[in-house]
Every structure is written in C-alpha cells, then in structure tokens.
Subunit: 321 residues, 2 copies
C-alpha cells in the first residue's frame, strides 16, 4: 500500500484573494512530489505546506495563462538557491520552454540542477513501474491540457488457505509469493497467481485545468477515484463560463457523474465569490460526493476498494468536516 | 498636512518563508499608491492590505532579480481583469520593458489600460507639485537603483499676531494668505512671507533595494526622515554580505547614522533567520532608532517637525510596540 496525499496549494481563479492563492495542486505519492500548475505564490504555499525544494519533483502545467505558470519562475530560482542537485522535470504546452528561457535571460537566474522541459501531447507522457501520467486536451481560450495520474493494477490479496493447500510453509516463501515471485516446494513450482486473488485497481486522479466540460474529457476522466475539476462559476454565471471557456460547479458535477467518478473536488473559484458553499451545494444536487477545495486542504486518497478519502487538518490529524 | 503611510508588503530576501513574502513596500501619500519592488506574491499582499487595483499607482523596481519584479506580471494581469482604465507607470532598469513584453507574449495577456514603462537613470525621474522621486545607483550583482521620495518644502506656520498687525481681518483673507496668496487691505498689499514663518522641510523616504552600503548612497540618503535599507544578513554572516553584495543590519545602521537619517527600518531578511530580533539589536547598537520590518507592518511617517512615526496594527489603530 502506497500513501497518496493531495494538498491544494492554491484554489482561486485568475486573481488571488485574501484567503485563496492561485492554482496549484500537490500530489505526494510514495515520497515523490507531483505538482499540477504553479500560479504566482506557489513557492510560498510549498513553504507553508513544508513540502521542501529538494525532493523528487515533477511539475505539470495545464496551460500558459499566468495564474497557472508564473510561479514556476520562483520555484526554479528558489530550488537553485536551496542547492538542489536532483533534476526537475517540467511538463507543459509548447511555449513553456521559451517562457522559462526568456525569463531566465531577463532575470539573469542560473539553474544549478538539470531542468528538463517536456512538451506535452495527448496520450501517456510519463510512466513508471507504478503509475502513468496521461494527457487529453480540454477546451479553453488557450490550449489546455487535462491530466490523469493512473496507478497500475496492484496484485491481488494473498490467500493463506490456498498457500497452505499447495504446501507452502509460512515464512519467507509466503513473502516471495506476495511480492509476485514463484517459489519451489518439494520440487513443485507454486505461482503467485495460484495463491493471490484477482488484481485490484489502482487509484485514478483527474485534474482538469481550465476548461469547458467536453465529451472527450468525460471519457478521459472515466471512473476517477478523485476528480478535481474547474469550478470557476456558480449557476447564475453560466453565461460567463461559456463565454470565457470555464465550467460551473454544476457542470463539474455533471461530468463527475457521467464519468462515474467517485469523489469530486471543486476548485479554481472566481474571486467574485466570498464563499463557495453555494457552489458546493449546486454540485451536490447532481453529484453528492462533492467537496469545495480551500487553500491547504489536504486529504489521503484511498484505493478504490478501501473506502472514502480522509481529510486532514493542518497538524496532519483527521479533520472534522 | 498630507498623510504618508507605509505598508511593508514583503520583507524576505530571495525566497519567501511561512511568514514573510518577497520584497515590496507600499507608500500611500495623498491617496496615491507608490509601490517599490514587486516580488512574487505582491498582488496577494495588495489584496490582504486592501490597497485596490484601480487607484492612481506608480511602481518602481530597484533591480531585475526575480524576487523584486516577478510580481509585476500578476499585478498587471489582475489590474487588467479588474477593469482598470487609469494608466500605470512602471519605472525600472533597462531590461524591464523587454521582460514585460516577452512575458505578455508567452502568457498571452492583454493590457486594457495604458501601461507606461520608464527606464530609470540617476537623478530626478518623476516630479509633481508636491514631491520628487530621485534615483542613485547602488552596488549589487546586477544594476540596482535606490530610490528617494522627497517632499518639497511646505509653507511656514501662519502667524495670527502678524496678520492682525498688518490689519488683515480674520476670515477669508487669512485663508488666502495661508494658501500663499497676497491680499489687499486698505489699498496696501500684504504678502504671505510677511505673515508666515520660515518654510518647513517635507519628508524624505529612502529605499535602498539590494546593495552594499556605499559613500554615494550615504550622500543620497542624507537626512532621511525614514530610511529603509537592505538588511539581508546578521553580523556573523558579514562575509556573505560582501560576497553577495548585500548589507548586514549593522551596516544598514552605520549608513543611517552617517547619513543623519532619523528612523531606520531593516528589511529583506535572509530566510535563514527564523527571528530577526538579533539583527535589530545589532543595528540599534549603532543607530538606536531602528525597527525590523515584518509583513503588513504599517506606519504613518510624520513631518520632520512633528515627532516620531506612528505604528498601526492591522485594524488601523495605533499598535503597542
């Protein structure tokens, strides 16, 4: 079991408010830090959340609007000043490389670690033994790339009765079977498939960036354990959502429902709303399992077969909600 | 009498900390907002301090390091989205215009108000009926421009006894004399100079940006009512101050003393210090009238003949210090 924690570093659209910073979401999975978008102020939020500048990190940018990517400049400079030597991989739309290069020229900052900028495209853009990062294009005023982190299937549950039936003694051989190795017992081979249950699904986290809801995204976000979706507007500003190519809370809920996703988290709220309870309520009419994000909201995302997300308070204890 | 208020929007050097944002200082004088430096996060601090995006504003950049100017991007975008129509004047070193132009290209932001970028040079760069902004170059790893806001002399104090002696009756004629107009009494002209005391000095605010202390700056900051000076390091890190072309708290105090400035405010603290009381103490040994800034510290700066600065708490009441 690998812990997957999410921290909302910034939840405001376009302009920060007193209590909400600009877009950024951190996923901490198995010690690795994956950051989705880095609006102005993200390095400050990283400091507040104590995420550190020297860990294994990848940053994914949904689109080239300033409120989603300007924070990269400060993160890169501060990482460099903090003596980072580990590489940093940054993924985003085509102009990202040029933006970083030009900024480095004007601001004369040196980068003392390998900075690798990857231009994203639809499909799988990163894959490890454990998970994949997938991309699909949304519909916004500038190219927007939605992301999915999809864990690979996990081994099935170990069945002790079956192991004993095949004559495997408790101890080291059990561990080897559990970790996927075949073992020999009295010259007979026992395979993991003989003692493990069916493979279990991993988690799937969807992150929309700024977009209208589209059929392509409905498919892309199919059965997310957690879907984080553009919720810039309330229903009464539906016309603005259409005009400016964002989504309403209700539209986010519709796509969560039609994609058969489990938990929906609303974020990227227009600064015109001093509270977002009403947006949350609008979404819950369609998709009851919905939460409106706030800055520094943190949660542990369970595997699909392990119940509901656990929300933590600032001290890391389970939060009362 | 014109109120002059200062709010420290960000007081950390290079990297923000949990409690300190990147460099920015706001002066609000007679309703006009003058911002000196705009590190990442300044627009958030502007929101917290409720300074507004639609008022008469000028922004002065000391040098082109990211922690002093990257926040301009978000301020300009947010002003544009807030429907600003008033012009914005931005002053800074030569590369500033290019940086803003290139960023606008990559981030595709339109600016819906007149944005005027002025390249600064030593001497007077802006002058109104009431005050001047002056510039002198400091000594840093990239060209750094220190700023002075210097108010013009104010009229002397009105002397009622003298007015009566010259036969001027109380009422409208007194007001006209007080506002600098000559008046006629029984066919004789009475001039303001006959009834007003000597002209009184205005306030002088000095802002160093990032720099070593230099003889040029000592002269430039001569007799500041308030001097805000680079205080990146404590005495034990003097070698770093020399190496990286910053100042220590003690060096800031020495220049405050030798320039015969009144109040010294230390700012731009290295993030290595979790508290800055010791830096304040080091400076006070040289220049007792010294205060270490913190984010959202606000004070009213009095005229030189009107006593000491008044520090306000967040609600605008006089703070206990």
């Amino acid at each position: 079991m690998v812990e997957l924690k999410i921290i909302f570093l910034g939840t405001s659209a376009a302009t920060p408010t007193k209590s909400r910073g600009l877009s950024s979401i951190a996923i901490i999975r198995d010690g690795e830090l994956l950051i989705f978008d880095a609006g102005e102020g993200t390095q400050h939020a990283i400091a507040v959340a104590k995420l550190g500048l020297n860990r294994e990190t990848k940053i994914f940018i949904t689109h080239m609007h300033g409120d989603h990517c300007v924070g990269l400049l400060g993160i890169i400079q501060s990482m460099s000043m903090a003596g980072r030597v580990k590489p940093l991989d940054v993924y985003g739309p085509e102009p990202l490389g040029g933006f970083l290069r030009e900024s480095a020229k004007y601001l004369r900052f040196g980068v003392n670690f390998p900075l690798r900028v990857h231009q994203v495209h639809e499909g799988v853009i990163h894959e490890t033994r454990d998970y994949k990062i997938l991309v699909a294009q949304g519909e916004h005023s500038t190219p927007n790339f939605s992301y999915v982190l999809e864990e690979k299937k996990r081994r099935g549950v170990f069945n002790p009765a079956k192991a004993l039936k095949y004559g495997v003694p408790t101890g080291e051989l059990w561990s080897r079977l559990q970790s996927g190795e075949s073992v020999k017992v009295k010259n007979r081979s026992v395979k993991p498939s003989q003692v493990l249950g069916a493979e279990r699904s991993g988690r799937k986290i969807g992150i929309s960036g700024d977009t209208r809801p589209t059929p392509k995204l409905e498919k892309f976000f199919s059965k997310c354990t957690l879907l984080i979706f553009d919720s810039t507007y309330s229903e009464r500003h539906q016309y603005l959502a259409k005009e400016r190519l964002h989504s309403t809370a209700k539209e986010a809920a519709k796509i969560a429902k039609s994609s058969r996703s489990n938990l929906l988290i609303l974020t990227h709220f227009s600064s015109r709303y001093s509270e977002v309870n009403s947006l949350e309520a609008e979404a819950r009419q369609i998709h009851p399992n919905t939460i409106a994000a706030y800055d520094m909201m943190r949660l542990i995302v369970p595997y699909p077969d392990q119940g509901e997300a656990k929300f933590l308070d600032i001290s890391g204890e389970q939060a009362n909600r």
